[in-house]
Amino acid sequence: MILFLLQLIFVGTEIFSGYLLEALSGQITHFSFRLHGGFFTKGIWGLITLGEKEGGKNGDHSTMLLITGIIAVMVLLVVMGIYLFNIRDAYKTGKLLDETGHCPTTKEYFKNTYSKFFAYVILIPIVIYIMFIVIMPIIFAILTAFTNYNTNHLPPGNLISWVGFSNFKKLFQIPIWSSTFFSVLRWTVVWAVLATFTTYFFGMFQAILLNSKYTKCKTLYRGIMILPWAIPQLISLLVFRNFLNGQFGPVSKFLMDIGLTDHRIAFLADPFIAKITILVVNLWLGFPMFMIMIQGILSNIDKSLYEAAEIDGGGGFKIFRFITLPLVLRATAPLIVMNLAGNFNGFGIIYFLTNGGPVNSSYQFAGDTDILISWIYKLTLEQKLYDMAAVMNIMIFILIAVVSIWNFRRTQAFKEV
């Protein structure tokens, strides 16, 4: 009501001073308030209560209410922003009028606004689009962590309610949750670190060999080794899943045929072997990218550095240790961190190779090779424990965001803002 009155006064003053644009925007806000009169109040009510009437068609749909609630609050914030902006703008023009005694015409004003706020004119639709598709769902996911949205409370049949921090408490206090969480977290960290560094150093090794003066047909080798990078990853992963299949796959058959083992090897079904297999497959997939990058850096290193080192009597290894390695590391550090963060959330390789399996009965809905992100996937889509998945989501997010921002702040792109 107060807002409405303010808008009325606002519209009145706008029309009086003849600013068509503001009047228009003022009227639109006023109009939407009237039209969606119930929308905002109902949205906020829904956000707070998450529905009061339980059950079926006539009851309240809690997820729906949560989503409309978030949208209502977001729109309100935007309208308030526009409103404040309009007031400031009106004040400014008023001041101008006092100073110069000249009232800008609508046309002049429009042109002025266009050049001044051209950026906003183009950005606003994009911002709205992103708010709905990117930001709203994320807020929804964060808020879910504080509700009991799980397989026992599934709308539209049941209502969801706010439960505060009890999901977080559950994660740390209920033994099966906390033990699964910490075991999965441990393997996630081990996996991310090993996966990144094996691919990095193997890639560097191949790059150095390719650049060596003894190497013949460099382009041929490079062309072949670049393949795992160029072939779509999902295809490679599904191929490996079959290739290494313990029961029917050709690799374990081959090993049996040449007499290395007398039984089929379960590359993807034994907890320990599966972890090693994942790392090896990842090496196959990942080394070419680093190889290409490092090859580029190597060819840019000043040749005179090497010559100077040779005159000073440095051997091959010493040259590598004190010239090549520091230079390459310096140049690729952000790439390593990005890769680490990527592997930490490397859903594809785990899901498509082993599906997180083999299932570990002492874990809560997780398998031995599950990393946090694939565990979250199972919790969300298979177990429908949205509340716990949301808690885990927040934990991962904090971890990844801190590392990534730290990394990103040091790159070129950031400094030039």
Binding site: F140, S212, M225, L227, P232, F248, A413
Partner: protein, 275 residues
């Protein structure tokens, strides 16, 4: 002399070995796709008989044709829309001064690191309201939005490198803002545009999670979902069919990757270059 020769042999031997290891799975899947048998256990490295029946069967008995078309249209649209949005935003962010630019961009970048499965439930509900579920265009809407945060940073960095004296000269000659954008900024940033377009084109081919959630019905699937469904239920049975599909998808994409590798490498380097 002896030492040098030993070194040369060792290095070349290692490179040959790695090349072979890289090639084995690739050759195996290509060979399997020409294999006569149906299942994984009988698919052999050197088939006794080569046949194209898997390929014909793929188009006759599965919906591979429409999967492929779905993926292709999503990929093309996504590349187009993403590039336009990214480029416009990056240009504005790079050339215009306004409040909250840095904070806004950084917030967006950080938020985009949020794992996406859970937010997908919200998106799903939203799409039901707008009746977008089961339409491939829904994927484009999501992919293009998801592409903005990181790529805007990337392209902005690139546009910053174009001397602004160029656009000022154009303004003096009476060129409008949009005209300057189209005539000067776009041509000058071709390499990074190619990077964005190619990477956005590639992405939908291999994304599994989002299409799996949003598209139901066999005909609406994208290639990734379709191929996975072929082997997820019974790994052994449809294997050679899967192999044929995998080859059909992988060959054009791999060739594209190799053709554009210069731009792709440049793009990755640009995102991670340090002082």
């Amino acid at each position: 002399m002896w030492k040098r020769r030993a070194k040369a042999i060792l290095i070349n031997a290692e490179l040959i070995l790695v090349s072979i290891i890289v090639l084995i799975p690739v050759i195996w899947i290509v060979m399997s796709s020409f294999n006569k048998g149906q299942n994984l256990s009988t698919a052999s490295f050197i088939p006794k008989e080569l046949t194209l029946s898997n390929y014909t069967q793929l188009f006759k008995e599965t919906e591979f044709g429409s999967w492929f078309f779905n993926s292709l249209s999503v990929a093309t649209l996504n590349a187009l829309i993403s590039v336009i949005l990214i480029l416009l935003t990056a240009w504005i962010v790079s050339r215009f001064k306004f409040k909250g630019k840095k904070t806004g961009l950084l917030t967006l970048l950080v938020l985009s690191m949020f794992p996406s499965f859970l937010s997908m439930t919200a998106v799903y509900t939203l799409f039901i309201v707008f009746e977008l579920v089961n339409k491939p265009i829904a994927l484009v809407i999501l992919y293009a939005a998801g592409a903005i945060p990181y790529n805007v940073w990337l392209v902005k960095g690139y546009i910053d490198g174009i001397p602004s004296s160029l656009d000022e000269a154009a303004y003096i000659d009476g060129s409008s803002k949009l005209n300057t954008f189209v005539r000067i900024i776009v041509p000058m940033s071709t390499p990074i545009i190619v990077y964005c377009a190619v990477s956005q084109f590639m992405m939908p081919w291999m994304d599994y999670i989002i299409p799996n959630l949003l598209l139901t019905g066999n005909k609406n699937k994208t290639v990734a979902v379709g191929l996975y469904s072929m082997i997820s239920n019974d790994q052994n049975a449809n294997f050679t069919l899967f192999a044929a599909g995998a080859v059909l998808v992988a060959v054009p994409i791999t060739i594209m990757y190799l053709l554009f590798q210069k731009f792709l490498v440049q793009g990755i380097v640009a995102g991670a270059s340090k002082e």
